[in-house]
């Protein structure tokens, strides 16, 4: 009680001082603070505006124009015709299918493998640090590094497929049934280090006491994993599923290096389709429509995932 008695007059006094003496200066300080704020934000905003926001909206405009078959001719306004043409084409439908299939092949398997390795590396064993380093080692590989390694290993002339008893002919990357799976395996391997690191740090946040308590209650290894570890890990799994899908939808390098969209467009994901239209067919209008579709699909799929998965996430506390 006495404390408030002491404090109240003091705040009154200081407020009085600032209102009477510093009003004009305070106004100036506010303006200067705001100016400084804008000044600090402007560099980022300039980059965002030029290289993200403007090109993003420009896509919608570009999509309205059809590019001439020969360069140096003016492009032709055709309105939404191009949108309907592209979005109803069988190539687009195929590309969307391949994109989702690729995500389906890479994301769940990547998370599961990363989790399995993280669980193994979470044991108290001598020398486990070495295993941790090995498991996270593929983070040092880029998409290009992984693709060149696997592309060479799967090459029929110099590859290792015969070693494990697989027939290298016809070349696996030219086989319509296997090409996407081969690209997916490359991707899973390349992202394994990332997945492992993520899952490991998630596991470390599971308190040992809880697991010990479950053990005392007679829960076996699997039951403890299923009923204690997994729920506590669900935020990490949730994050991995969302970010992993976004990554998968944006995959480009491995397709370009391993299959170039082939065979028979069986690996022609949306990003590669955009690239092809832009680079090989010199057709920014179609590419823009495809890019908008890629954005919309990523956004909608992420929102659906958030809706569906978040309900199962246990945030504790």
């Amino acid at each position: 009680m006495s404390a408030t008695d002491v404090v109240v007059p003091r705040t009154d006094a200081s407020a009085g001082v600032s209102t009477t003496v510093a009003r004009p200066r305070r106004f100036g300080r506010r303006v200067r603070e705001a100016a400084l704020g804008y000044l600090l934000v402007v560099p980022s905003l300039l980059i965002f505006g030029t290289f993200i926001i403007y090109p993003f909206f420009k896509n919608f405009y570009l999509g309205l124009y059809r590019n001439p078959p020969f360069p140096n001719l003016p492009k032709k306004y055709i309105g939404f015709e191009q949108y309907t043409d592209v979005l109803t084409s069988s190539d687009f439908y195929n590309s969307v299918k391949v994109t989702f299939l690729f995500a389906l092949l890479t994301v769940p398997a990547g998370i599961a493998l990363g989790l399995a390795l993280a669980v193994l590396a979470h044991q108290r064993l001598k020398g486990i640090a070495i295993y941790r380093t090995i498991f996270s080692s593929t983070i040092a590989t880029s998409v290009a590094v992984a693709s060149v390694i696997f592309g060479t290993l799967m090459n029929p002339q110099v590859g290792l497929l015969p070693w494990i008893g697989l027939d290298p002919r016809p070349p696996i990357l030219e086989n319509p049934e296997w090409a996407l799976i081969a690209v997916a395996i490359t991707t899973i391997w390349q992202n394994l280090g990332l997945s492992f690191i993520l899952m490991s740090s998630g596991l470390q946040s599971v308190p040992d006491e809880l697991l010990e308590a479950a053990e005392v209650d007679g829960a076996g290894g699997w039951s403890r994993f299923r009923n204690v570890t997994l729920p506590l890990l669900s935020p990490t799994l949730f994050f991995a599923a969302i970010v992993g899908s976004i990554f998968a939808f944006q995959s480009f390098g491995q397709i370009d290096l391993l299959t170039e969209g082939g065979p028979l467009d069986k690996t022609n994901v949306l990003t590669y389709f955009v690239f092809e239209e832009l680079r090989e067919r010199n057709n920014p209008g179609t590419a823009a429509v495809l890019a908008i579709a890629l954005f919309a699909i990523t956004l909608v799929f992420t929102l659906i995932q958030m809706r569906v998965l978040e309900r199962r996430v246990f945030y504790g506390r």
Binding site: G37, I52, A144, V148, T152, V158, P284
Partner: protein, 397 residues
């Protein structure tokens, strides 16, 4: 207790099982040798039966003796049986392994590993522990194999790489280091690496600077439309870069930045992620410090450089490592804006390198290793920061 038991029962009787163990241990190989020339299959069966019976009888005899007499009773016979069994097992496994290793190196390596593990399990008597090591080791080998074989292949001559595997396919007996020299100079890896370093460092430094500035503004300053601007920053995270390439390519072209470091770096000098990360870090800076700094007459810029930035060092380090990693690994954009070897980055360089003939396949492998080493070093030294950067989103939700 043991001594009493012995005293009661008199001198240790010869255990029949132990005798059987020794007999089996001796008879197995003898029979096997005798039968080898007439009926090799039966001979093999005899050897197998010999050692398995020797071991089985020996161990159960040992068990019986220990139950009856305690640990120190005369169990030498049983031990001899067991030893015989082990020696035979060893010889057998070794022969088998040599045969398998020659016939099928991959399977041979796997079987050898399993055999070693089994032996360890028997010797240590802790199957669970050894089992864990076996699973972990096998997975570690699978994960590391592509990298290992890349290193090995980079040290072989091209004609050694193709075709049937030989022992030197797994371990280069005469390593040929010149593939690295070839990749470095003839393969332009030196140029590509230099370009990658320049662009990556430009991007990393740029991202830190813009993120610190914007993060500071969002954390410490009041200005109109602050919330709106922050939402704009975050929404840039929603737009995949692939969506913007069409116009960005035009923009960079019209600026005359194709085949230039600016063209490679400038579009990435700011990230919504960085600004968000730094804002969160700055918000942790105690209010008292701000007040104290204000008393000392610190302006905002001085406070930022002297107090806020040092306190936010962990977040900045995380952003730096994360930015470096993603900039180094960029593929699509460098592919689009560079056509000149003079400005190509390592990732695109690898594509070029792979395009060359299969005669230089070892050079391609060497190039892959050269491209991966900088990140490997980064991973080793900055593992903690990397983990923090990668999981920043996961933890904060």
């Amino acid at each position: 207790m043991g001594a009493e038991a012995v005293a009661l029962q008199g001198p240790p009787r010869i255990n029949r099982l132990a005798v059987a163990a020794v007999v089996a241990g001796v008879a197995g190989p003898v029979l096997g040798l005798l039968l080898w020339f007439t009926a090799p299959f039966l001979g093999g069966v005899a050897v197998l039966l010999g050692w398995s019976l020797a071991l089985a009888f020996g161990f159960s005899a040992l068990g019986q003796i220990r139950m009856a007499h305690g640990a120190e009773a005369g169990d030498r016979l049983a031990r001899a049986g067991i030893a015989l069994g082990f020696v035979e097992l060893g010889v057998l496994v070794l022969t088998l392994l040599v045969v398998i290793l020659i016939a099928a190196p991959v399977a041979g390596t796997i079987i050898t590993g399993l055999a070693v593990a089994l032996l360890l399990a028997l010797l240590l008597g802790n199957t669970r522990l050894v089992g864990r090591y076996v699973i972990t080791t096998v997975l570690a080998l699978v994960v590391i194999f592509p990298i290992y074989i890349t290193v090995v292949n980079s040290l072989l001559r091209p004609e050694q790489i193709a075709g049937q595997p030989t022992p030197s396919s797994f371990f280069p007996i005469h390593p040929q280091w010149d593939s690295y020299g070839d990749a470095w100079s003839a393969g332009h890896m030196a140029t590509y690496l230099r370009n990658s370093f320049i662009v990556t460092i430009l991007i990393t430094v740029g991202q830190i600077v813009t993120a610190v500035l914007a993060g500071y503004a969002f954390a410490f300053l009041q200005f109109p439309f602050k919330r709106t601007l922050f939402v704009v920053f975050l929404s840039t995270l929603m737009v995949p870069f692939e969506v913007t390439i069409i116009t960005n390519l035009e923009t960079v072209d019209s600026l005359g930045w194709l085949n230039s470091y600016q063209g490679l770096a400038v579009p990435f000098l700011a990230t919504g992620f960085g600004a968000f990360l730094l804002r969160q870090a700055f918000l942790q800076v105690p209010r008292d410090l701000q007040d104290a700094a204000a008393m000392d007459g610190y302006g905002h810029m001085r406070f930022m450089v002297r107090v806020a930035v040092p306190l936010a060092r962990p977040a900045i380090a995380a952003l730096a490592v994360f930015g470096f990693l993603s900039a180094w690994n960029q593929y699509l954009w460098p592919l689009l804006v560079t056509e000149d070897d003079q400005y190509r980055t390592v990732q695109i360089g690898l594509k070029q390198l792979r395009g060359t003939q299969l005669d230089d396949i070892n050079v391609t492998f060497a190039g892959v290793i050269i491209a991966a080493v900088p990140l490997l070093i980064l991973l080793i030294f900055f593992q903690k920061q990397l983990v923090r950067g990668l999981t920043a989103g996961a933890v904060k939700g």
